[in-house]
Every structure is written in structure tokens, then in C-alpha cells.
Amino acid sequence: MNKKLESLFSISGNFVLLLSKPCGEIAILLYRTFFWIFKSNTNKRNFFLQLQEMGARTFPVTSLTLLFTGMVLALQTGYAFIRVFNEPLYVGRLVSASIVKELGPVMTAVVFSGRVGAAVAAELGTMKVTEQIDALYTLGTNPVKYLVVPRFLAAMIMLPLLVIYSDFLGTIGGYLVAHYRFDIPTNVYFDEVYLLRLKDVFHGLVKSFAFALLVIMVACYRGLNTEGGAEGVGRATTQSVVVSMVLILVGDYFLTALLIAFGLG
């Protein structure tokens, strides 16, 4: 019995250690990132390259995703209400609220983690296994300052912008289906959209900042801690995407609960 109890403690202890070590290390990486943001100037060239990579090159994918998310949402809502009330009511209200508060931030962050998080983890991971990170040190550059800071700042700016843009496109997608499929007049649809409150938009934006921080820190952490050649880079990339996606979806619930508690629901 004692041995069983011992192994139970050992397993649960190992699990806690396994979970807390990366959390602690990510917190230290975040601290060092802020340290370098305030201590020295960010490499402008790297920063603008990252803005371009995370913004301009990501927006076609997020556009397509959110346009069709808005469309399918309108389609489902329309038919659901037709079955109950015999006419497609509240499509504009439902589509816009769902997109702005939930689907906009979550879907964009998921696409962002697949597109940007994977690229960052793979790039930093390759640099780590080919000793380029060590080379940075020997050439007098701190890798956090040179690699993490521009990516962190670009992600914190670009993901919220992408979310605002996605909110707009998702609502337009909903309108296309509402208007052309269900013959809902334009003014009726947009009158319902205008019922959105500013705090609904803030609700989505706060989430987008949290998700940006999550995705970029997980990707940078996994990239900088890559070991084991090409296989290690593959593992780091996959882990970065899977972990950030899970954290986005799980974190979304708790963040929503927290925002509601603070009156931003």
C-alpha cells in the first residue's frame, strides 16, 4: 500500500514539475523580453520584417477563415430561426456578437499560431541547432534582444489589428449570406450589428492581446530550447502549435469568465 502511495506521489510530483518548469522558464523569458524592451533600442529592421511577416503575410489566411466563419454562422443562424420562428431573425445581432467577442479573437489566434507560431519556433529552433544562437552571443548580441523582442512587439501589435480586421470581415461574410440567401435588408442587418457595445469590442481586443502573448512566448521558448537536430526542430514546431492552440481554447474560457467578472462581458 505504501509503495502504491509512494508511486502515486512520485507520478503526480513529476507531472507538476513537468508542467511548472516550462511555465517558470517562459515567465523568465518574458521578464528578459521586457528588460530588453526598456533597456535598449529594438532592431528596427528586424521589427519591420516581423510586422510584415505577421501582418501582411498572415492576413490572406485570416481573411478567408473569418469571411467563411461569418458566412457559415449566418447560414446556421438563419435556418435555425426559420425552423423556430418561420423567419430569419437576429442574424446580424448573433453573427456580429459571436464574431467580435469569441470567434474573431479565437479563430484568428488559432490561425496565427499555425502560421506565425510555427514559423517562429522552426526558425529559432533551426538557429539553435545550427549554433546561430551561440554565434549571436559571441558577436556581442543577446538573442532575446535580437530575436525575441522584435517578434514579441510585432505579435502584440499585429494580432489585435488582425482581429479587428477579422471582426469586420466576419461581419461582412455574415451580411453576404443574410442578404443574398435570406433576403434580409441591408439596414436591418446592420442595425443589429450597430447594437454592439464598445465594451464588446474591448472584450475581443483584450483577448487578442492575451492570445498574442501566449502564442509568441510559447513559440520563442520552444524555439530557443530546441535540441536534437532536424527531428528536434520538427518536434519544437509541432509542440509550439499544439500547446498554443490548447492554451488559446482553454484560456479563452477563463479569460471570458474573468472579463465578465470585471464587467466587460
Partner: protein
């Protein structure tokens, strides 16, 4: 110039260095030889501050550097150039930007001054006119030479070579050896090279040290090492599979030579 005293390092209980000591005089080239996984590269990384030693000291020009913080370590890094095993050129930058990266970070120079140094160093390693190339467009030998140009861009007093000839054909290996000798003659830099290419070790070194089981087993001039009486050193430099060096994971007995 460089004094390493009783340096110890272990990774997860596996002892890599069990007390390494040696002294290297100004302008001298020391080559450290030893089997794969004997901790040669880790020794270089400790000297440049990439890996912290568990105990012992590394003294460069009278200054103990093994316990320095990140800020002060930068001062030491200005004195040391590091040539990486796989060159470690930054893929996203051109050759010229690679060579200039140390200068941009550590020196306050104008763009024109930096450009002049980049061209001068690339010419010194025999690769003028390639500064616009990307590393992916270069051969292995060219990458090594660009790696050397990048390491000497700051005119360091010490140059560390991590397996400078590994992965190159014999002719290109000799080109790199000649380049190391040329740099030594022209710049009077103190250098440490780690390698298991014995031809290279004999050619470039003033002294050769054999690292074995975490300690320096023997140090001597290339001539003295070639005439060593130590069975382990003899087996290593002759590249024989039979002898006192245990071969990990080997289940068969090496063939005895007649």
C-alpha cells in the same frame, strides 16, 4: 595570456571535464585533440562564456572571466573570435552582413568604415566580391572562410576554432590550415583549435594537447606528440581501432594487426 585552472564541468551527472589546466602564451596556437564527445567544443564554449563551468577558473589577461555577468562578458567577447564547427552563418543575412554583425553590435563605426573592414576581411580569407551572396549559395569551404572572416572582423586578440576542417575535402582542409597559419603570421593572434584531424593539428599548432576522460593527458609540440610513448596518445594519433581506448557500444573485438 590564457590560463585555465582545474576546470570542471558535468552535465546531468556525466562528468565532461574533471579538472583541466593549461597555460597559453600570447601569439601561441594550441590544438586540443580528443575523441568525439570528449568535451573539446565544451571547453571552447566555456572560454568564450557560452557555457558556465561548475568550478575552476579561466583567466584571460589576468582577468577571471568564468563568473562574469552578461554585461561584463561582452567586454571579453570583444577580445575573442569564435569560428563555429558548421560555420553558424546567419541564413537570413548576406555574407557582408554576417561579417559586419559583430562590428555593428560591439563597435561604433560608420557604414563606410564597416564596409571597408568587411571587404578587407573577406579579401584576407580569399573571398573578395561575395559580400552580396547568401550563405545558402556558398560551398562548405567558403562558409568556413566566411565564418573565419566574421570571427576576425573585430580584430580579436584570441581566436577559437571549433573543428575548422571537419566536413571538408583534403584540399579544402589544407586551404583552411594555410589560412590559419597566414592569420597567425599576420595578426599574431593567440589561438586555440579543437580538432581530430591530425594532419591539421600538426600543421597549425605550436603545441598539441590530448584531452582524454575529462583531463589533459599529454601536452607537447607536434613533434613530441608524434613521438609520444603514451599508448592512448599513440592509438589516437595513428587512428587505430585496437589499443587501450575503450570503444563505447562495441560488441566485437577489433581485428589485431599482424
Amino acid at each position: 595570456m590564457i590560463k585555465v585552472e582545474n576546470l570542471r564541468k558535468a552535465f546531468k551527472g556525466h562528468v565532461v571535464h574533471a579538472g583541466i589546466s593549461f597555460v597559453l602564451n600570447k601569439g601561441e596556437t594550441l590544438t586540443i585533440i580528443g575523441g568525439s564527445g570528449s568535451g573539446k567544443s565544451i571547453l571552447l564554449k566555456q572560454i568564450v562564456g557560452l557555457v558556465k563551468s561548475d568550478s575552476g577558473s579561466i583567466i584571460i589577461d589576468g582577468k577571471e572571466i568564468s563568473r562574469l555577468g552578461e554585461d561584463k562578458l561582452q567586454e571579453v567577447q570583444k577580445m575573442i573570435g569564435y569560428v563555429f564547427q558548421e560555420s553558424a552563418l546567419f541564413d537570413s543575412l548576406t555574407v557582408g552582413e554576417n561579417v559586419a554583425s559583430g562590428l555593428n553590435n560591439l563597435a561604433r563605426l560608420t557604414a563606410l568604415e564597416t564596409l571597408k573592414i568587411v571587404e578587407e576581411k573577406l579579401a584576407l580569407v580569399g573571398l573578395p566580391g561575395i559580400k552580396e551572396f547568401k550563405p545558402a549559395q556558398l560551398s562548405g569551404g567558403m562558409k568556413k572562410r566566411v565564418g573565419i572572416a566574421r570571427a576576425i572582423a573585430m580584430n580579436p586578440q584570441i581566436l577559437l576554432y571549433d573543428e575548422p576542417t571537419t566536413g571538408l575535402d583534403p584540399v579544402m582542409s589544407d586551404v583552411i590550415n594555410d589560412l590559419i597559419l597566414k592569420l597567425k603570421k599576420e595578426t599574431q593572434m593567440t589561438a586555440i583549435a579543437v580538432t581530430h584531424d591530425m594532419k591539421s593539428a600538426y600543421k597549425i599548432s605550436d603545441r598539441v594537447a590530448m584531452l582524454y576522460q575529462g583531463k589533459i593527458l599529454e601536452v607537447g609540440t607536434p613533434q613530441e606528440i608524434q613521438n609520444s610513448k603514451n599508448g592512448i596518445v599513440r592509438q589516437f594519433i595513428s587512428g587505430s581501432s585496437s589499443g587501450p581506448i575503450p570503444i563505447p557500444g562495441q560488441k566485437f573485438q577489433p581485428l589485431k594487426s599482424e
